[in-house]
């Protein structure tokens, strides 16, 4: 059997003839980023063959490699079949976390400090109670130590907060990439990956290993002993909660999209891979539907949507756009598949929110451009908020027409300074945002599809519930972009109706702030179990004329 050596780690993998390089790496325990899970569509798993290339057979799908890369010996690990010994150089995935900008704050509300976990010192020992039930016993008086974790399990990023449950104070929080994304970028690819027992184990164990290392970091920084952490709340979309609790999510991935679990319960932390108090618990907030999960339940809680008078539109903008209309206590929910464009995927110069990503862009009256990058460095790409800004501003000044087409310089009525930036890239129109950073006609089409999905969802929900624009008192935007977005850009790209522009509020990461409220206030749990049971779930694809509405929502 061929032996593959991976540089720089120097690890070896012996694999059967005909296996792929990606499989070889995985069996050697080497992580090669492969967000499409080896289908050959993303082009991220490129590695360089240093020796033994002649024994390799590659089927280079969709030409994901440039001529230069091929000449230098790069191949896609997923599409390369091994027939003999070889040496392969792999790019390190370490350091991916270091520069990411992750939003960890969300709006919240005032609640009583009434945690589910309590302690009582009696007869020389401390008894820990979960509600009225004794959970465990500790020697001596430990009543001054009572901690909990609130974990927001995002598809892309995980945020963990360490909470002192005696004071309600957040001691510290840390963020990291969700390690599952290395193998499978989006929710559906993850569901597919987890459809085998090994795949499910990998998804479950990688994310719980991340939770453990975050717990260790937080405890070390705050000087807390992790055995005094008694409860953890998991907030995240329905698929993330399935994977984190080791439940096969297969039924979420096909019509009629049914969850296997519904939340509103506890599971033992130790059995599910957490390293906290040995008798510690994990609380799972109620799940609304396959695509409206506990992250949205947390959002409802944090924003008190069920208590608000009048009509509020709540939208979580991400790969899946989830939305809720709350009207005097009656909640309707739906979700739309926006796709990964808002996270910079499938965008020519798209990138995650790391150093050098353009996160802010505006055009002055004379056509001069102001832009800001994360880390204030030279621009190297565009992240989600930058993409909203760029497309929004270009649509506002007319570089992009109502139909989404880039208006050629000779027909444009926009400032001269912008005309020289309208160029051709690979024979198609593009706008030069900065040196070597472009937004192409194709990118704009991707944004149109993504925002059209959200906008048509908003419109269909409003129609279904019978709400007029005039009636909507507030539009709350939640999600990982949160505060980085500008209301103007949401209106300029017509993701939110123009008439509602002055009512937009950003509420941030309410998945995390809601999880914190669940942790610290027990009555929230019964309250939200009741609220979510009564949510009216709107299935968009079953609505008459939805495809026409979607098409109508593609323009600017």
């Amino acid at each position: 059997m061929p032996e593959i050596t991976f540089i720089p780690d120097g690890l070896n993998s012996t694999i059967p003839v005909g296996a792929t390089l990606l499989e070889a790496a995985r069996s050697a325990g080497i992580v090669i980023e492969s967000p499409c899970d080896g289908v050959g569509t993303c082009g991220k798993c490129k590695v360089r063959v240093l020796a033994g290339a002649e024994t390799l057979e590659t089927s280079d799908d969709r030409h994901k490699l440039s001529e230069e890369e091929r000449a230098e010996g790069f191949v896609l690990a997923c599409s390369s079949t091994v027939f003999g010994d070889m040496t392969v150089e792999v790019e390190s995935t370490e350091g991916h976390n270091k520069t990411l900008k992750i939003l960890s704050e969300g709006a919240s509300f005032a609640y009583e400090l009434e945690p589910f976990i309590t302690k009582r010192f009696e007869g020389g020992q401390t008894t820990i109670y979960a509600g009225d039930e004794p959970l465990g016993v500790e020697e001596g008086d430990t009543t001054d130590k009572l901690y909990g974790l609130a974990i927001d399990i995002g598809t892309t990023t995980v945020v963990t907060a360490l909470i002192d449950m005696l004071t309600g104070e957040e001691l510290d929080s840390v963020s990291a990439l969700n390690p599952q994304s290395l193998h499978a970028q989006d929710v559906l690819t993850r569901i597919k990956f987890a459809s085998t027992p090994e795949g499910l184990r990998e998804m479950h164990e990688s994310v719980t290993a991340q939770f453990r290392s975050m717990t260790d970091d937080l405890c070390a920084r705050a000087g807390v002993d992790k055995r005094f952490i008694y409860e953890t709340v998991y907030s995240g979309n329905t698929t993330m909660i399935h994977l984190a609790t080791n439940v096969n999510p297969a039924t979420l991935g096909k019509f009629p999209y049914i969850p296997q679990i519904f939340g509103g319960n506890h599971i033992p932390a130790a059995e599910y891979g957490l390293d906290i108090a040995p008798f510690g618990l994990i609380y799972l907030p109620p799940i609304i539907t396959a695509f409206v999960g506990p992250d949205i339940t947390s959002g409802v809680l944090a924003a008190r949507l069920h208590e608000r008078r009048g009509t509020t539109l709540f939208v979580d903008i991400g790969t899946n756009g989830e939305m809720i209309i709350a009207r005097d206590g009656t909640l309707s929910a739906t979700s739309t598949a926006a796709g990964p464009a808002f996270e910079g995927m499938n965008i020519t110069s798209g990138m995650r929110a790391g150093t050098g990503a353009i996160e802010y862009f505006s055009i002055a009256e004379d056509g001069s451009i102001e832009l800001r990058t994360i880390g204030a460095t030279k621009p190297v790409g565009i992240c989600g908020s930058g993409l909203f800004d760029i497309v929004g501003e270009l649509a506002r000044v007319g570089v992009i027409g109502k139909n989404g087409r880039i208006v050629p310089a000779n027909r444009g009525t926009y400032p001269e300074m912008l005309k020289e930036r309208v160029v051709e890239l690979n024979g198609k129109p593009a706008f030069c945002v900065a040196d070597e950073v472009f937004i192409t006609q194709g990118d704009i089409r991707q944004v149109q599809l993504a925002k059209g999905a959200v906008r048509s969802g908003v419109e269909a929900m409003m129609t279904s519930v019978g709400v007029s624009e005039a009636e909507v008192g507030a539009v709350q935007i939640a999600g990982s972009f949160g505060y980085h977005l500008r209301a103007d850009s949401l209106v300029n790209i017509a993701l939110i109706p123009a008439a509602l522009g002055d009512r937009i509020e950003f509420v941030g990461n309410t998945s995390k702030s809601g999880a914190q409220a669940f942790l610290l206030n027990t009555p929230c749990r019964a309250e939200m179990e009741e609220v979510t049971a009564q949510v009216n779930s709107v299935e968009l694809s079953n609505q008459e004329g939805f495809d026409k509405l979607f098409v109508a929502c593609l323009g600017f």
């Binding site: 569509t41 089927s59 989006d186 559906l188 597919k192 297969a250 495809d547």
Partner: protein
């Protein structure tokens, strides 16, 4: 004469329904052969629309509006088409198309369906969440020569291959060309499940159908051959 045809083609490109219908009427009044008008003007107009769509100049709304203009012209022209042309219609590629079972997404599939029908194919659209047995049954019923399967979701892509398995089991594999497409698919995948063709874009799907049916009678390519467009 030629000028009317050019203007009709232009009207379709310009998404002008009224002008398209009126020009079609003028062509009939001028004694032009309606079949000739359909081939030279209508199909030519949609061909140009398809090119712009592929170049990303036109998008879904423009595509739909152009198709509306095309259909406005066809509504005028078709009643004048000589019955013998029905004969010719049988030689057109006949396609059954649908989104695979478990997948309720169909916007992309609808675009392909539209491009194929406006590009000179006879299309029966089976909708979404279509079981493999239904693809096979409909292909037989419609006397199709091509089965086109779409999926948007990674989670349902493996089911695409079940249509080919169903054909094999019933000894019908040689009777149909199977083409596949959709965001999570790739040529590697298409090859693995034994499809006859894969296209990344909707316009590519039309070229694929044309390539596969270039002979009057569709022929199965050799084992392992896959046409990628």
């Amino acid at each position: 004469m030629q000028e009317i045809l050019q203007r009709l083609s232009d009207a379709i490109l310009a998404m002008d329904e009224d002008a398209a219908a009126q020009l079609a009427q003028e062509a009939i009044d001028a004694g032009l052969d309606p079949t000739e008008v359909i081939d030279s003007a209508c199909l030519d107009g949609m061909e140009r629309v398809g090119t712009l769509f592929e170049q990303e100049e036109y998008f879904i709304p423009e595509l739909l509006s152009s198709a509306d203009a095309l259909y406005a012209a066809l509504d005028v022209l078709r009643p004048h088409v000589h019955p013998s042309v029905a004969e010719r219609q049988r030689a057109l590629p006949r396609v059954v198309i649908g989104s695979i079972e478990g997948d309720t997404h169909d916007i992309g599939k609808n675009v392909v369906s539209l491009i194929l029908s406006t590009g000179g194919c006879e299309v029966r659209d089976l909708g979404r969440d279509v079981p493999s047995t239904e693809f096979v049954r409909a292909a037989q019923d419609f006397a199709a020569n091509i089965i086109a399967i779409s999926t948007l979701m990674t989670t349902t892509m493996e089911r695409v291959g079940t249509v080919i398995e169903a054909l094999r089991k019933q000894g019908l594999r040689a009777d149909y060309l199977v083409i596949v497409g959709g965001r999570p698919l790739s040529p590697t995948f298409a090859r693995r499940i034994g499809a006859d063709g894969y296209a990344e874009t909707a316009a590519g799907a039309l070229r694929l159908v044309r390539a596969l049916t270039a002979d009057p009678r569709p022929k199965r390519p050799g084992v392992g051959d896959l046409i990628v467009l």
